[in-house]
Amino acid sequence: MKPVSRREFLLTGAAAVAFSAVIFRSAQGMLKDGQQYFGRGLARPVDGKLPPPASGELDPVAHTLNRLTFGPTPGEYGRVAKMGVAAFIEEQLAPETIENGLCNRVTARFCDLWYEPLMEQYDEDEETLTPILRQLTTLRAIYSNQQLFEVMCEFWSDHFNIDPGKGDCRWSKVGDDRDVVRKHALGNFRDMLRASALSPAMLWYLDGHANEKRKPEDKANENYARELMELHTLGVHGGYSQQDVMEVARCLTGWTLRSKRKGGGMFANAKGRSKGKLFNELGEVYFRPEAHDGDAKTVLGQAIPAGLGAGDIERVIDIVATHASTARFLATKLCRRFIADEPAESAVAAVAQKFTESKGDIKATLRALFATPEFLSSAGEKMKRPFHYIVSALRVTNAQTNGDKPVLQFLEKMGQAPFRYPTPDGYPLEASAWHATLLWRWKFALALSNNQIGGTSIERAKLQRQLGGDTALMATLLNRRASADEADAFLKSGDGLALLLASPGFQRC
């Protein structure tokens, strides 16, 4: 067997990776599994000097770490300061070049399920996959060195949101995460959109599987067509009409999947038939010419001739992916994620332009975004969302964690557990949606500081010693030197670590 490259490990080569995971598991043995379950043996090795930030403000290094990652680990500031912000951005834009052994080890025990073919995932108990997806996503955010990649996976998971609580999605969302979100997170937008359009989970979640036209009086199901333009591409004011929604829905008639779960009171496509095969595998997506509207259509002013059949979807994806409104809509959302809740028009325009020029190249688009003056001048002006907050607290304290239910329960209290958002618009990016979560952040800070979270532990004294005392600990937590007020509160509070994790400075990014 040829060696598996990191890129293959990360993005493709399901069988090879599953195999290597098995080898790894047998080598590590049961003891390691046990340790992992209880959140032990997973500390990030800390050695050498861990120079904290010296500036009283968030400097460009600290700012870049705050925005491109789920928060720095101890020592990360010094590493990035040494290599320079530009080199760090390039490193993060090339995740396949980043050493990621710890994360791979921590998540190894999920790999068997994770890389299973969809058909086999459909054989799992209906309560099995979603909790694993939540835990795995949390662990990757905490332990991965490919931080920007994980941040973008979160971004696209919101953008193409699917709640696995709906019907078949409890089996097919893992495949969507793997084959749509993670496969294309730093790739090309058009490719990701196409993959999403024919993803079994999306076909189920937005009812595409039931969109058909067999008789002249059949009306297409518009659910996916509308969200495709409203949420995935042009945006609600992007210039499409109700007529366009209906025309796109007509183009997409006939696509379905072999599903497992009843929906709307009937078993939809319990047995499928395509290309001479008698039965499709569970979860298999296929096109039924007899359920497709073969007449001519017009989408956003562009004619789609009659008779293209399964080719209609390619035309639709091309039209919406390259629409000027799509560039602006995505640029606005990306700027909202990385710059400000209400980003400046100049930044949005620059990012949209690069998106168009690069034909939807996500890396090129992000590179342009990070180069805008608006990005550089926005340090500390955003508020972390709950997931970002929790992950950053676990990272900065070098916590060992299994990312299991006790952590998830805090995220549920704050309303941002992974893959629990019910509607297709995804978790809000704006801070105003999250202001009511402060109480739970404070309680999390206290619980973490006092090792009261099951499956999670920190070694506070050791961390303090390694960093070299209170001043360095405070600067590491805040990503800048503590103010006089913060230092004072740190000492007086009785629990300085919890205090700073709960403080406004740690909510900001």
């Binding site: 699917i162 709640d163 696995p164 609580g165 709906k166 019907g167 999605c169 979640y205 929906g263 709307g264 009171g265 508020m383 329960q409 549920e412 209290k413 704050m414 309303g415 629990r420 958002y421 019910p422 509607t423 801070a431 105003s432 949606a433 999250w434 202001h435 009511a436 979560t437 402060l438 109480l439 739970w440 404070w442 309680k443 206290l446 006092n450 007020d485 913060e486 509160a489 007086k492 509070s493 009785g494 629990d495 919890a498 205090l499 709960a502 403080s503 406004p504 400075g505 909510q507 900001r508």
Partner: protein, 370 residues
Amino acid sequence: MLANLSANPDDKRTLVVVFLRGGADGLTLVVPTEDDHYYKARPRLALGKKDTIKLDEKFGLNPNLAPLEAAWKDGDLAIIHAAGCEDTTRSHFEAQDLMEHGGFVAGGWLGRFLRARGPARSPLSAVALSPTMPEVLSGAPSAAAFQRIEEFSIGKKSAPNFPAELRRLYEKETGALRDAAKNTFAAIGRIEAIDTKAAPENGATYEEKDGFHQGLRQVAQLIRADVGLDAASVDLNGWDTHFTQNLVIDDNIKSLGSGLASFRRDMGARMATTTVVVMSEFGRRLGENSSLGTDHGRGGVMFAMGGGVRGGKMLGTWNGLTREMLEDPGDLPVWNNYRDILAPILTRHGANAEAMGKIFPDYALKPLEV
């Protein structure tokens, strides 16, 4: 918009959802006392007409629900029989799943209701009195599962100066973060001011060892403390009475009746803005089985109390228990869809027509006059 406790200080509305898990036997809770088919199908389990409390010309209330008679007479309690969801599998999991999600959709209907109202106005906008979050609250902007109110306060024990020092730092902030912290401290203050040991108001009493009672008691304490509670979910388990039903169901019915009545008394005038809805995943088969129990059926019973319900009468459709009216294999059908019962209540709790489309998508509502 700011999540703000004081954003709408007049909004004191709270919706309390009580879920009877296991499939509560509606025909025992609310007895069709004039229907011979009921007595023929249940020779050993049926309740005699004289043992029930007369509700109207067709129905009598289970005697263990006697504490609710006052609410009924005051017009503050509505009862809907033959209520439930579309599920025909008669599986607890499937039916609860469907009923909590509110259709074949993601998220819970209560979660979507809260989400449609905008950002949570309080860290305690929604609570569940349970160890884990029920599906009905899935997707809420903020929802906390808890068992004791004390869980909400922040640790003064390990670090006595922690809250004061934290407050000091947030007071030096500007803008939204400062306001959010101010609201949060206000909520904590109100929670910590709750005397959880205090006697309920208006002479109400809750059973000390009854988890359902203690859940309602704490909901009442949160409502009265004005912490911004929009919705609460409370479970009452143990309704799966396949075997010797009368031995197990009576205590549950007592707990339900006295708990709801105590809550109403405790809340007093606040009941006008507080609605309690009681539901179960399905009712049970009309015919009793050979082990003095009943098996999974379809239509059950729902209650709505307070919050301006049009009570004191049986609402919705009732077609009787003749053989041709039953659903195979002999079940009371669902003539009243739970969504048509919930919709008018959610409207009173602030959901407009657009929000209702999101709360119950893919369903043409025919709201009852609840």
